[in-house]
């Protein structure tokens, strides 16, 4: 099998690698670039723990080949903080206790960041739909939703939001 030489930008830094075509992007990030903030959860594109941004779009990096990312701009959780200053979403997850075991958190934050790029002030239903491809094994969604509300300026840090019972997610779009 031939290897392919790829060049990509990861968190603003140009990186190169020689990769087998079958190498998954998440393995390139974790095992070659040693950026282990991106997690592998289910490895079947269900759980979203491996969510990163590829050219500004959120993607599950376990479902993308490294060669497909040749030339791409990649952003991972390591690219979110500005030195010692946490990204507003990281701070909000901290303030709202938006994590329990923390395994899903990097993917949650990357998906939430993409969501807020699309929609500055999503309502609760939009937040829940927006993170529907990210699973929290601790089922700590209430505080994750609050953290995203805080990061989007819809909730003060430390202010407790009215907690509504999670709506059943409609299987089909509303008519």
């Amino acid at each position: 099998m031939t290897t392919h030489h790829i060049t990509l930008t990861v968190n603003g830094e140009s990186r190169e690698a020689d990769v087998e075509p079958r190498l998954l992007l998440v393995h390139l990030l974790r095992d070659v670039f040693l950026l282990t903030g991106t997690h592998i959860g289910c490895d079947t594109s269900n759980c979203g723990a491996c969510t990163i941004h590829v050219n500004g779009q959120s993607a599950k990096s376990c479902t993308m080949l490294a060669v497909q990312a040749d030339g791409a701009e990649i952003k991972t959780i390591e690219g979110m903080a500005d030195g010692a200053t946490l990204h507003v979403l990281q701070q909000a997850f901290w303030d709202q206790h938006g994590l329990q075991c923390g395994f899903c958190t990097p993917g949650m934050i990357m998906q939430a960041a993409w969501l807020l790029d699309q929609n500055e002030k999503p309502n609760e239903a939009e937040i829940r739909e927006g993170i529907s491809g990210n699973l929290c094994r601790c089922t700590g969604y209430v505080n994750i939703v609050k953290a995203i509300q805080q990061a989007s300026g819809q909730l003060e840090s430390g202010e407790s939001a009215p907690v509504e019972a999670a709506e059943t997610i409609e299987a089909a779009p509303a008519s």
Binding site: T2, P21, L24, N46, L65, Q68, G133, A171, P173
Partner: protein, 289 residues
Amino acid sequence: MIPAQFDYVRPADLDEALKILTEREGEAKLLAGGYSLIPLLKLRLAQPALLVDLRDVTGLDGIVQTDDELRVGARATHRQIHEHPDVVARYPLLHDVSGGIGDPQVRNWGTIGGSCAHADPSSDWPAALLAVNARIVCRGTGGERVIAARDFFIDTFQTAIEPTEVLTEIRFGRPGRGMGTAYRKLERRAGDFATVGVAAGVILAADGGIEHAGVGVTGVADTPFAATDAEAVLKDQRPSEDLFRQAGEAAAGQSRPATDSHGPADYKRAMVAEITVRALRAATDRALA
């Protein structure tokens, strides 16, 4: 999970892609978004010798409204389709389907052409294509073929595409006056494949009767299918809950669900009937709106 080894090429244009497919006939698989193919590669259910990545092939992701049809490029993502102004304005069926596939990440990368070429028996797009009998354009070195959706989905993961062809475009007829369409599905968990999905299209005549009905069903047979028995029940009748119920029973009768983790077969047949009623109700409401 690590896929088996394969070679990888990224042709610059469609002609080059077609040349590679011809030279490596039967060994090559096309790669678009990858959200259907890569999971299969990881499970080693698919082990092609060569992946042909269509990433750099231009002209495959446009969405164009002509006088009489919407031409959707094969590499248009679900999200692009969902947000396209012509889709939002005139194609509620496409809007329904594209907004409910998988989850946001899947919709960012998954494509309509990839999904249709892959032909998973539970995928959403085929039901819609069957309901309105969309036309699927396949390009080979010898030129283009336009295949009706009802001749396209042959069996599980099997379509009418030749191994030397590329699916380039899907064409949907422009809805005329009196036409309403909708897609409704039942999924066990958020983002899951449909347990049952039903796409319905109705055209109401001036007297209020159903001039034409199309019903496409997914998730409950070896391949998505057109519920022709349900369509026959609906034809030339006045829309009513009773009629929709009869059509639902007819669609259920045509389904061949398997008992699996989504539920037993008899439950799924009951759900085919119910989801068919909901899709017909929504399509008729839109036709009247």
